[in-house]
Symmetry: D2
Subunit: 99 residues, 4 copies
């Protein structure tokens, strides 16, 4: 039912893609520093912060997806499925509450 060639859909992200996204986030944070430094209108700064948070959520989902697809499968093979599901739920809870 699923294709054997691993269709990299949805939130799946390669290490290079994750790094590229993080570098872009780093640049966005520097952009906000500049905006604050130049006393730009606070609502515009807030819009940029929301954009960064959305980008970080995407990175987080890419990592979680890798965890669910790979780490958890290896963990299951080693009898650590419950432990790893618990870890993943704690991570999701922190993401939902943001820290």
């Amino acid at each position: 039912m699923t294709t054997p060639s691993t269709p990299t859909r949805g939130y799946t992200a390669s290490k290079d893609q994750l790094l590229a996204r993080l570098r872009r986030v780093e640049g966005q944070v520097r952009g906000i520093e500049r905006m604050v430094d130049e006393d730009r209108y606070c609502i515009d700064v807030l819009t940029q912060i929301s954009a960064i948070q959305a980008a970080l959520d995407k990175v987080a989902l890419g990592l979680l997806d890798g965890h669910a697809r790979h780490c958890m499968r290896e963990g299951a093979a080693e009898g650590r499925a419950d432990e790893m599901a618990g870890e993943m739920m704690a991570a999701v809870a922190r993401l939902m509450k943001r820290g």
Copy 2:
């Protein structure tokens, strides 16, 4: 495959626990309707809304935990691991963005 005593830690919740939490949430929503109807101070109503959202997040984490521990294991046995990981990620993304 899993320990027979099942150490119900973390976010694991039984069907009865989930239903009890949802009934409590239903009561909390009715409580907010009353507060709005009686023109109570908006900040107090907002505090109650945050409490309901936290309770619903807990229900969601309980369901996700069951999904990660049970459905995904069954799915893996049927060769649907990738499909189910994708479904779970989409659900987590919706919870993070709240709808």
Copy 3:
């Protein structure tokens, strides 16, 4: 005190609209109880929970909007502007962290 035409844009909501939304949320929570009771697929239940969270966010924004437009203006007239801004920020912080 407020403009007589009141351009009801954005998140502004009347008491009747808020109550109607809350009654709908109450029905949605009951719907989820039924889904859990009938052992419906967890991912479908999670989708419904996200829909409720979005609906509650909309109620919260309607209340915050009223607070910013009316309560804060009255508070400012009574010299309580800082106190009320502080209360509002605490409410926003709780909504962002969901409780």
Copy 4:
């Protein structure tokens, strides 16, 4: 540096404090890049992402607080109170949905 009378409570933050927080966030993002590059355990990376989201939320609340205390007061004096309340609600909505 801040006005001596103003009880700088809650989320109020000076420009210097905001800039210091943003520089710290920038360093945290670089730390995550390193973690991903070194193939560190995904759950640990996710914990760091949640810490950044919490730090950005704090920056956002500091900016919103300034908006509510200062910009909105000036706006009210210029008859733009409704417009500015609408802008602030849209910003809060984006923060709640994260982008």
